[in-house]
Amino acid sequence: VASAEPAWVSALSKAEDSMAKASVSADKLIQTAVAGWLVPGGGHFVAGQRRLGWVFFIAISFLFFGGLVLGGMKNLVNPTTNRWLFMAEMGIGGYTIPLYILNHMGGEIRPEDLARLDYLQNVDPQLYLKYVSPYPAADVAYIYLVVAGLLNVLAILDALTRMQTGGLPTYYREIVRANEAKASSQAGGQSS
């Protein structure tokens, strides 16, 4: 009588099937990364994970626009005042680049002026506060924007992984457990 197949065998074979079915052409991977960079969750839409795409879109967009509502874009989408913040925001290029362009298209304050000490010493405080939020709202806005940009990098990498594995996430517990069971089974086989 043949013994029952261990659970890890079927878990691993399912994962291998999923990966074998995945289409991983370079064009498709580039499309996934670009879509995810333009809109949070866009990469998941390209990878066929629409519902997860909506989850990423809502969570990351909420943080990004929540930060902007608190802090205002003149000071917060502005590489001359904080280049590190801007680099983090560029994790969502489809939001940051249009806002950066819009930032230079009008308003009573020029974004570059906010980095000039002589301008800040002479600017009307009311005008300044109309465009730049003070502590503590500014702190919260910075944190929201940085986290949104960096979370989107995570979302892009996840979309690329799912594209390459046919929908499996980066760290899929079933595969990890199956690999552990396989390793312990092989170690048991060697010792006996």
Partner: protein, 83 residues
């Protein structure tokens, strides 16, 4: 308030109302919730697995961050007393 609302263009202008320390503390919760959602979304295969994982991660983060805060506060108080 009405005149402020008429003048205020969200995102273009900064938040025009005062932002109290209490509001700053409350803003921690949506931040942690969004981090928990995105982190867990990278760990699940289907959306159905998400809610339970998000709740667990959210509570873990809030409790551990709260614990670190209380710990640092107590340490600060202790150092103030000893110096």
């Amino acid at each position: 308030v009405t005149s402020l609302l008429l003048m205020w263009i969200p995102i273009w202008h900064a938040w025009p109302w005062s932002f109290s320390p209490g509001a700053r503390l409350l803003s921690f919760f949506p931040l942690v919730l969004c981090i928990a959602i995105v982190y867990r979304a990278t760990r699940v295969r289907h959306v159905e697995e998400l809610p339970k994982g998000v709740v667990i991660t959210f509570l873990n983060m809030v409790l551990f961050m709260g614990g670190i805060t209380v710990g640092l506060y107590l340490l600060y108080g202790f150092l103030l007393r000893t110096n």
